[in-house]
Subunit: 333 residues, 2 copies
Amino acid sequence: MKKYASSTDVARLAGVSQSAVSRTYKPGASVSEETRRKVLEAAKKLHYRPSMIPRIMLTHRSNLVAIVIGGMYNPFYATVLERFTVKLQETGHQVLLVHVESGHSLDAVIPRLASYRVDAIVSALAILSPESADDLARLKIPVVSFNTPVKNEWVSSVSCDNAGGALQIADLFLERGARRFGYIGGPSDSPANEERLAGFRERLTERGISEIAVVEADFRYEGGFQGVVEMFSKPNSPDAIFCANDLVAIGAIDALRKKIGLRVPDDVLVAGFDDIPEASWAAYDLTTFVQDAPRMVDEALSILHASIAANASVGEVRIVIPAKLVERGTTRR
Amino acid sequence: MKKYASSTDVARLAGVSQSAVSRTYKPGASVSEETRRKVLEAAKKLHYRPSMIPRIMLTHRSNLVAIVIGGMYNPFYATVLERFTVKLQETGHQVLLVHVESGHSLDAVIPRLASYRVDAIVSALAILSPESADDLARLKIPVVSFNTPVKNEWVSSVSCDNAGGALQIADLFLERGARRFGYIGGPSDSPANEERLAGFRERLTERGISEIAVVEADFRYEGGFQGVVEMFSKPNSPDAIFCANDLVAIGAIDALRKKIGLRVPDDVLVAGFDDIPEASWAAYDLTTFVQDAPRMVDEALSILHASIAANASVGEVRIVIPAKLVERGTTRR
DNA sequence: AATTGATTTGACTAGCTATGCAGTGCCGAT
DNA sequence: ATCGGCACTGCATAGCTAGTCAAATCAATT
């Protein structure tokens, strides 16, 4: 009825001490070739593998990294999650995947993560309450907030230059001769969304344009679709729309073409943000920003590894990756 | 330097025994209100939460379920992963996310999962070698193979009626008056792919059509796109194409429209499989099969829970969920 | 007041690995 | 022959919780 062989079982079969077994599996430990051979032989017979569980108790390292995410419907996050997972596995870590309804905070899951003694947390949630941050600081669990700049001395963050990207989009629209501007955004409690809108608005204001049609939607295709329907039910509808992300932009394009009966880009320019795979599909050929996801992930990981090594947060690291405009068909005339 | 308070620390502060602390956190245990109060008070002061780690050692239950997945680029799997995660969290389990290059087997990761004492494994990999299955049976780790029927008495599987779905697509194509048929598929080592092709071919053969243009691609957009390019570089090109999944079908549609210059559905009918969100986007409006993902996940979970409860595999459960055809614009004339 | 039964409590131990420490045997050097 | 140094080995213990068991307390009954 016993499922797993223990190091003691192996030691008994190999005729050595339990310590010898333990040392066989620790690189660089002091074991003779002869002993190692006997141990490995016995281990093979018993299908033995050292258990992580007591090791965690002793070393206070679980090699677990929690990734907290609000939704995978957006391919951008699916991609990011995949890269995190692959990279973490390469360095001998395991990923504890945690789903928190987007719009909610980490609060409720922190005790659970703490009870598994995770080494670190990556949060891709838009919201991180000060209470959560304090809890994590108290437990000394390093945290990297992904895609959401955070103001807290314990939590690091890696995000991209949302405002800068939005400025460039505004410039591009102006250059292409657009006159009336629209923004279809995500929920207003998303910092990324707010930064994108702010940047867009700022540049347009500089150029003397104060009138912007803004629709608050979600970050989904349906949001973009409905957003356009709403926007075009009013007079003076825009001839250039910046969308909070690519899913929204794609929904907007479909609504413009199939519902409103306008042409993109001939009648209306559209741009998005993220550069998900769908953006380059031939039917859309969407102008957008490349969030350099691989680089963002790598930066986040290097912060994590430094924090784990230091056995603490490296504290207050704020990395902002520049976004790169990719002009495609939806803004070309 | 100590990160976490232990139950002993709490006991000392509360002036009770360690057992009392443990019992306070076990529902239904015999503790007086008075003691419980003292314990909770002390626990709050020390920010104490019981650690899962020693608990795992004692109870041989980790409440960890590993989900092994080959790629999240396909929104179908991203959706499935999300539902698994949400549902497992509801029942107090945690998800250990493991990425294995698609086309590879579980083999390499089993020791790692075993060392974390996972309660069960969900595998969404196309391949599960007999060796892996034996290893898992030996360690008595229940496994559910998702979307890949498996022949092994330890491993259960939940998949959908691929062949049945393919039959219906063939019928639909015939009904719509198609004459020349094409199939753009995934890699031939994918059982799901093989079943879909076999079902398609079987029905067409019954109707006296033996000639089918088959292109082997991957399961991605690019595969569908290139597949069409290749298929239409030969004479006698098809007027109805069944694709191994929706991503492939969408790639195929874009290639037909933008590269080959044909109309869908007027010149060529197209159907896919999965019913990912993208399939119902207005630009594609793709006829496809609804794999009832929520139900598949729920069936998989109920097998898992039964297995975990029985502390063994429930053995040789094969559930096949019927797929439902959704006819949309790409097969309507 | 004594007895019974139920409830609550604390001491103790299992579970498995990593590691500090002390010890063994062996080598070459003195 | 003795010694220091070296490579290796085993003993014993820490790490933290859940559960067993026996002891202790309490409430209720006679």
